[in-house]
Amino acid sequence: MLRRILSLIIKEFLTLWKDPKSRYVIVAPPLIQLVLFANAATFDVTHVALGLWVEDTAHPATELVSRFEGSTAFDVVAHFDNPGDVERALSAQRVKAVLHLGQTFSADVLSGRPAKVQLLLDGRRSNTALIVQNYAASILEDFQRQRSPKPDAGLQLETRAWFNPNYDSKWFILPGLTVLLTAVATILITALSVARERELGTFEQLLVTPLRPMEILLGKALPPTCIGFVEANVIAGVAVVVYGVPFIGKILLFHVAVAAFAISTIGIGMVISSIARTQQQAILGVFIFLAPAIVLSGFATPIANMPLWSQELTRINPIAYMVRLTRSIFLEDVSWAIAWHQLWPMLLIGIVTQAYSTWLFARKLQ
């Protein structure tokens, strides 16, 4: 039995390697996406195109304006003198935000009356708008503190971000990316390998050999597991060495997590491939699974911000568990006991999907 499975595994590796298409699937997309995501996809907002609509040319107003001009967060790209121009510039996305100071601003500030500062934001990009608002608020806060360092302002909030003190979004993105790329590679390889054999007619040839369905599934599952391991380690390595993301967790725990994760994604790949008759259908199936699974994984948007029903959905999404777990291994040295809460659901998903695909295969034979 071992000899049979071993032959199958060797063959799987050989076909993967000798087929230029599958070689490409393993190597190229992860590399391209790694570079792309790490450098281009960032949540840090800098050089926001800011428009100024300043109707007051007196001293405190000019000081506030120069603070905005001096900030790296903003680039002043336009000056306005009427609301119509402001509206047009915002809707054409020439500016992301407009700072409006009314005619009475300086007078109000100097006389101690509440002074109004208006910030007009492009709400279509709500995420950016929120961040821009925060930047603007902190500039205003500084401005105010310097003008009136009154004792009653002594209650100050001092924030310190744990695990990512500089809010470097690479620290957030790259561990998640490790998970996504590993998921894509393992699911795709698994789903395609059976579908390809079905398309070429070699699957029937396998079924008439003494290989049992269990042995075929094992032989089909082990190679993508190995590839998933290598891929996860390479990407994690690049994240640490090239992009300086800290890895303070336990390496062994990381490997165990990858194994548990691979079992679950390969199970899903197996289910897809036991339904798909052609490689095209398999790719479509992978896509149908991956697109929502990535959106609901917490990779880009926090699960806690989702509506309840979709939070429930993330409970059957192995990518969500693994994204959470990988971030906590990288950044916070999570303990085995806490990691277990993310590990067992992945294992359960793996066992259920693998069993289901075995059942599907067996049923097709009847």
Partner: protein, 585 residues
């Protein structure tokens, strides 16, 4: 006082078509010149990959030639495609029909595409439905029609705009003989009305029914003209040799090796001999036959094979090459090698196989013959454990497939029509893999792989990628992979469909040698030729086994004054007609 010949419908002038670029390019057609006359059926004959489909697509204007000129109905196909498109009816091999539409909807769709107006369309529908006898089925989904009916519908769609040129790409492949005859009748009538018909086929017996033929091999036009004249090339050189029962394989082998013989094949209980030009008739008993060889009318295939062998003498050698390997050491199986008892298989409400029972003895070559969709593949799949029967039982090599499938599989070799190999892997990797999954231990593995490389002459290509090999090598590799574990029973699914006749002969020589070593062979086919190699045949039609017997037995049942020497196809058609209305749906 012969009337002036009408101008040809198609003129091919040194037409060349390549696929791919540079040294990798495959030449699909190589300087082909020919004329197709109206009012005639011109057969495009040749194995798969010979260039038949490419030629039809070029004439239909779907491809443009790289070199040479095609004149279709008086227009240069390169710059006047649209001018003649309306006059061309093209029926591709597949995908011609929308399977989710009904018969009537398919016709209407094609009428729309050809811009037929309402009056013309009613008249055409009426004529064509009567013509094809599809009238009662207009509301049926095209996907639910039988293979023969699908082809007739495809033909009706191609005939809608009253084409002057009809291009048919393998219209009869996999169709039952009765429907095949009907297709011929319809097309014959069209030709009678002056339509130029091009009919491509891999069946050599169909070539004989054409008015003229173009014979292709590897993109080259090997021969053309009238089939009768072509067959006359081997006039007085074709004979049938009766053989004592049980010795046909050895006699065939001896005859094939005889220097005077160009071709020797098994035909029922006799050996068909084609002598080399000018060779003296060998002595029948000396070859192992009973009595002297009797002269017989030459066939198209005889001339084709003798032509191919004249061109490629080295391949003639391969055909007589020593058969594969040492005797199978397996102890003879007690009782039947294959036993099907009341095999029935339902797919939902549809009964694909209905109560099929037969037994095959060890060493027998047994054929399951029937058109596509008749149930032969379903039966075959149940017997090799790919499908579970709904009821009934299957035993192979003494093991019940229901209770001991894994044990049965170790005794089964399987080769499918598509030569299911791993194309990216080398020949050697494929052999390694299959010997591994059959669980051979290391010593045996090495020994069997060496055996395969040697006796199938695969040694020189062992390191090559199997997908890049010519068809003949692939076929040999597939067969050797199926034999690595020395199976007692060999399952062959349409093993030689679409290969050229020399390859088919080589293949069957190997199968014959295996049968002599008491390996049991079960083969499915819709090729009547292939069926002649079998010791016994089960004819499957409409899910049921309608006849069982040796090819000669089956033919003998239909001997009549009108048909003193019926072919297997005559017998098949006769059997189907005898079934009458029971399977008319």
């Amino acid at each position: 006082m012969a009337p002036a010949a009408p101008p040809p419908a198609v003129v091919l002038d040194a037409v060349t078509k390549r696929f791919g670029k540079g040294p990798q390019a495959t030449i699909a057609l190589d300087h082909v010149s020919a004329e197709i006359r109206p009012g005639e059926i011109t057969g495009l004959v040749g194995p798969d990959g010979a260039g038949k489909t490419t030629l039809l697509r070029l004439i239909a204007g779907l491809l443009t030639p790289d070199d040479g000129k095609i004149t279709v109905l008086g227009h240069d196909s390169a710059n006047a495609v649209t001018a003649v498109q309306q006059d061309i009816g093209y029926m591709p091999q597949r995908f011609g029909l929308y399977e989710d539409l009904t018969v009537a909807e398919n016709l209407r769709l094609y009428a729309d595409m050809h811009g037929l107006d309402e009056a013309a369309r009613q008249e055409r529908f009426h004529t064509l439905l009567a013509f094809t006898a599809l009238g009662p089925f207009v509301e049926r989904l095209a996907g639910k029609l039988s293979g023969g009916m699908k082809q007739k519908l495809g033909l009706a769609c191609a005939l809608l705009p009253r084409p002057r040129l009809l291009l048919l790409d393998e219209p009869s492949a996999g169709v039952d003989p009765a429907s095949r005859r009907e297709l011929w009748r319809i097309v014959r009538t069209m030709a009678g009305e002056g339509v130029a018909v091009m009919w491509s086929t891999a069946y050599l017996d169909e070539a004989e029914r054409c008015d003229s033929f173009l014979l292709f091999d590897n993109g080259r036009l090997l021969a053309s003209g009238s089939p009768a004249e072509f067959s006359q090339r081997v006039e007085n050189r074709t004979f049938l040799l009766a053989v004592p029962s049980g010795s046909k394989h050895s006699v065939q082998r001896r005859a094939a090796a005889d220097p005077a013989v160009a071709d020797a094949i098994i035909q029922g209980e006799r050996i068909r001999l084609v002598l080399k030009a000018g060779a003296a008739l060998p002595d029948g008993p000396a070859l192992g036959g009973s009595g002297a060889p009797q002269p017989v009318r030459p066939r198209f295939e005889d001339a084709f094979v003798s032509l191919l062998q004249g061109r490629t003498p080295e391949r003639a050698e391969a055909r007589t090459a020593r058969p594969p390997g040492e005797p199978s050491a397996a102890a003879p199986v007690d009782g039947a090698a294959i036993e099907a008892r009341d095999l029935t298989r339902d797919f939902g409400a549809f009964r694909a196989v209905d109560d099929v029972t037969f037994t095959v003895s060890p060493g027998e070559v047994f054929g399951l013959l029937g058109p596509n969709g008749a149930g032969k593949s379903t039966t075959f799949r149940m017997l090799c454990g790919l499908l579970e029967p709904s009821s009934g039982s299957a035993r192979v090599a003494g093991v019940d497939l229901g209770t001991a499938r894994a044990a049965a599989r170790e005794r089964i070799g399987y080769m499918s029509q598509r030569f299911s190999l791993y194309g990216e892997l080398s020949v050697r990797d494929n052999l390694d893999f299959f010997s591994g999954v059959y669980g051979l231990d290391r010593a045996r593995r090495r020994q069997r792989i060496e055996w395969a490389l040697e006796s199938f002459e695969l040694g020189p290509v062992a390191r090559q990628t199997s997908g890049s090999l010519p068809l003949g090598f692939k076929q040999r590799l597939a067969l050797s992979c199926a034999l690595l574990h020395e199976p007692k029973v060999l399952f062959l699914d349409e093993p030689t469909s679409g290969v050229d006749p020399l390859m088919r002969r080589e293949f069957w020589a190997r199968i014959g040698a295996l049968a002599e070593r008491r390996v049991t062979v079960l083969v499915t086919s819709h090729f009547m030729d292939e069926a002649e190699y079998c010791d016994r045949l089960a004819i499957v039609y409409g899910g049921r086994m309608i006849a069982l017997g040796s090819p000669d037995d089956l033919k003998r049942r239909f001997v009549s004054d009108a048909l003193p020497d019926p072919t297997l196809e005559d017998a098949f058609v006769g059997l189907i007609e005898a079934q009458g209305t029971q399977v008319a749906s």
